[in-house]
């Protein structure tokens, strides 16, 4: 048997629905149709009345999730694409993220954001929104890079008493497979050493972990041992694991698929600079997408975001510094 990243997300939701009567799913086309990507396939039938089609109203979808959470439910919201969470942004950052702080009433909602680029998706179906949400206090932001994490972290997201922004990567939906779903998992909030190495650290998350691993594989044939840190959760950020890796290697490249201004990679570099400056043998480096909207044509798209090749070049450069 083999399970894809997308199927793991479906299975996690099925399990959450089965185990907790407070869970329901609300989003566009998630009902009988099973969702734009089929992440809720068959769930409406299996759990009648608990998987609800929503009007195209991201603001009201999130607002209703907050109201339901106040009343003790645990809604899972599917945004059709991460990009379309912007009309619901206000409710996420001003309503969901402030509720507990203002009232001591928790807001256990999970907002699934199908994120990131696939070839040909263009400016409005490819975005990575994690940095925008991570900026706001009161939110937890998860960015699973593996099938196992997609499953276990989604279950954890639903169980957590705070609003979780769950950034699932569309490129990984079908590309990643595993044999079986995990029975044990690392907790969210902890980074993972995806590949150990002593010469240089690459910090990455979500789909970029796989680009980094491909680059590391290539570099190992040249005798360079790269350590790859998979952040798993970008908020909170597991600074300890990052610093420990930098302590081992002395050189670090931070890779993200999002736009270059600010964001997760800048935050990681800032923490390394402030907390691990003395551990560095070279200036910490960042690699992001280009500072333009995400292009449509595959030729442009594959040059816009970081890839194994551009990571390889960045690491080679870093080793010369």
């Amino acid at each position: 048997m083999s399970i894809t990243y997308l199927e793991a997300i479906r299975e996690a939701q099925a399990r959450a629905l089965a185990e907790d009567p407070r869970v329901f799913i609300y989003g566009q086309d998630v009902g009988d149709f099973g969702g734009a990507f089929k992440a809720t396939k068959g769930l409406a039938k299996e759990f009648p009345g608990r998987v609800l089609d929503a009007p195209i109203s991201e603001d009201a979808i999130v607002g209703a999730a907050v109201g339901a959470a106040i009343e003790g439910m645990r809604p899972i919201i599917e945004m059709q694409f991460a990009d379309f969470s912007t009309p619901g942004f206000n409710q996420v950052i001003n309503q969901a993220a402030t509720l507990y702080w203002r009232t001591q009433v928790p807001c256990p909602i999970t907002i699934r954001l199908p994120s990131g680029g696939t070839s040909g998706s263009g400016p409005f179906h490819s975005q990575c929104m994690e940095a925008i949400y991570a900026h706001y206090p009161g939110l937890i932001v998860m960015t699973p890079a593996t099938v196992e994490d997609a499953y276990s972290m989604l279950l954890e997201a639903v169980a957590i008493d705070d609003p979780v922004i769950f950034c699932e990567h569309k490129y990984l939906y079908y590309h990643l497979k595993t044999d079986r779903l995990p029975t044990e998992a690392m907790p969210a909030g902890k980074a993972r050493i995806a590949r150990p190495g002593r010469d240089v650290t690459i910090v990455a998350y979500s789909a970029m972990v796989h680009e980094a691993l491909a680059a590391a594989e290539e570099l190992s044939t040249e005798g360079v041992e790269v350590e790859v840190v998979d952040l798993r959760t970008v908020k909170p950020l597991d600074t300890d694991t990052i610093i420990a890796s930098v302590a081992r290697t002395g050189r670090v490249l931070v890779v993200g698929e999002a736009f270059p201004w600010g964001g997760v990679t800048a935050e990681v570099v800032a923490r390394i600079a402030t907390e691990g400056f003395g551990l560095l043998d070279a200036p910490p480096q960042r690699l992001n997408a280009k500072d333009t909207p995400i292009p449509y044509h595959p030729n442009l798209w594959s040059a816009h975001r970081p890839t194994a090749n551009s990571i390889l070049a960045a690491v080679r450069n870093l080793l010369r510094l």
């Binding site: 009201a60 109201g67 009343e71």
Partner: protein, 345 residues
């Protein structure tokens, strides 16, 4: 539109407003006005930490009618000019003052202030500033109650006419219509959104006309008339409670104060002030009480004195209470402490 008649015949479901109910509502109305007057005085004396004071003068008849029509188990998301409705729904003067004067014992413990207050667990939702944003939250509470099999519950929320121009208003009403929720949407058309007149806010004849597009039942009411407000709100709430779907109540009135106490409201058209909607609902209801011999002049003055005393006592109490302390404050925005970030532990 000054129609004082609900567009759905109310007579069969809601009896005429009784003397008892009118008196009960009047006392809350009066208390809210007296509390507002005190808040204005405290503002002028520089006693309001953080600054803003937003009053409901001229809107109390409408507001109290919402609060008084709800019962325990219902959901209420009031807005900035709903001091009267809040009291009628069960908030105390002390609770209101704590939030305005920054007492750490207040419902928001200094983390939020003035009109941003509530007790979500009791169905009393604390507004965020973003206009229109509370509608879908009330919808969500109502959806959850439906999941849990609770019946006969109503959710009510209030907005000014300016707030009806937001996308959130449209999404919220459409959502309530699609889900056929027991929502009562109360719009106070007080003719100005801050300084903006209705001619720059919307282009339909009456905001009640929008009801049809959302699958709501429309009601229009003269917001200066307490008896009419009680009747129409009572009716709308009864319809929602008995499975007749969402209701839109649009009241016509005039804001009889500045947008906030910092605002002299010099932009308000004097002709509006002299027109019927410019009348003060408190004065009108006092006249109503006298004309019907439901109260004497002496009683009216005793009630005002009693309200003033209650407010003064509450102020004296709350002013002695501690303010929040930044050194002992728990600077963590998450319920799950282990996920706290940078310096918040």
């Amino acid at each position: 539109m000054l129609s004082s008649v609900s567009e759905v015949s109310a007579a069969e479901i809601v009896p005429q407003v009784s003397k008892d109910e009118y008196l009960r509502a009047f006392r809350w109305l009066l208390l809210a006005r007296v509390l507002d007057e005190k808040l204005a005085a405290l503002y002028r004396a520089g006693k309001i930490p953080g600054g803003g004071v937003y009053l409901g003068k001229g809107q109390e008849a409408l507001s109290v009618s919402v609060g008084i029509s709800l019962r325990t188990g219902d959901v209420y998301a009031p807005l900035i000019r709903d001091g009267a409705g809040r009291l009628a729904f069960g908030e105390t003067v002390v609770e209101a003052l704590r939030n305005c004067l920054g007492s750490v014992l207040g419902p928001m413990r200094g983390r939020d202030g003035n009109v941003h207050r509530g007790r979500p667990r009791d169905g009393y939702l604390p507004m965020i500033s973003h206009l229109g944003a509370m509608i879908s939250v009330v919808n969500g509470v109502l959806m959850a109650k439906r999941f849990k099999g609770q019946k006969g519950v109503v959710g009510a929320t209030c907005l000014g006419e300016g707030g009806t121009s937001t996308g959130a208003f449209h999404e919220g009403l459409n959502q309530a219509g699609v889900e056929r929720l027991p929502l009562v949407m109360v719009v106070a058309n007080n003719q100005y959104a801050y300084s903006t007149p209705t001619s720059r806010q919307f282009a339909c004849k009456s905001l009640a006309d929008r009801a049809q597009g959302y699958g709501f039942t429309p009601h229009s009411v003269d917001g200066t008339n307490l008896a009419e407000c009680l009747k129409v709100l009572g009716h709308a709430v009864a319809l929602a409670r008995t499975g007749n779907g969402p209701q839109l109540v649009v009241a016509s009135l005039l804001r009889l104060c500045g947008h906030g106490e910092h605002d002299d409201a010099s932009y308000i058209d004097p002709r509006l002030k002299e027109s019927e909607i410019g009348r003060d609902c408190l004065e009108l209801s006092e006249e109503h009480l006298l004309v019907n011999s439901w109260a004497s002049k002496q009683e009216l003055s005793q009630w005002r004195t009693a309200a003033q005393r209650a407010v003064e006592e509450a102020v004296a109490l709350v002013q002695k209470e501690p303010s929040p302390d930044p050194y002992t404050e728990n600077w963590c925005a998450l319920q799950t402490g282990r996920f706290a970030e940078g310096g918040s532990k």
